[in-house]
Symmetry: C2
Subunit: 121 residues, 2 copies
């Protein structure tokens, strides 16, 4: 079994989570064979260590953490690698990998640019 | 003349700005007739009031501020409306409008979901 964890910043305002919930639903629909979960860096639950522990306990052997951040700032370049190192030590039986933040993807940026163009037209 | 201002959070890490710079280049290429600028809420320059003042001084009559945020938390739902109200009072000669955050757009979420699926495959 494999897991995808969509990892977002979190905020005090509960409305913040809405697009991430929709993103999880879209990803789940496209990957029914995987477990697709949300986790937050701060201010919202669940956090990444809880979700990773739960997925490992459920038998996941390969966990991909996807930073759902537009920019790769300190959270993605410093906090996330530290978190992942701790999680790999805590769960050596699973492969825990990550990928660049979604804002690094050209197709994502093109979709955002198309939205900006429509907004200005 | 009309202006689009791509409004992002900002971060201490200079690397944060890279996808927003690429987004500006993509949007500019698609809208050569508009002025497409970046502005940041905090930690990075230029800020929104500076960019709006500059665009108004350059003769812009219609300014669209696009929140390049995935979630609509307190920054988009509370800070941005307050900033816009101040800017409208300061620059009554221009129409200053905004649109929902980019994460509210279905095509943007679909592009991110496709990235997540590819990352997990």
């Amino acid at each position: 079994m494999q897991s995808l964890i969509l990892f977002a910043h979190g905020a005090r305002d509960p409305a913040w989570a809405a697009p991430f919930e929709r993103l999880r639903a879209l990803t789940r629909a496209a990957m029914p064979q995987a477990s697709v979960e949300l986790a937050f860096l701060e201010l919202m639950q669940p956090d990444l260590p809880s979700v990773v522990a739960q997925q490992v306990a459920a038998g996941s052997q390969r966990i991909t953490v996807i930073p759902v951040f537009l920019g790769q700032g300190g959270h993605v370049r410093r906090d996330l690698p530290q978190l992942l190192e701790q999680l790999r030590q805590a769960h050596p039986q699973a492969e825990i990998r990550t990928v660049p933040a979604v804002g690094e993807d050209e197709a994502v940026l093109q979709a955002i640019a198309a939205y900006c163009v429509a907004a200005g037209s």
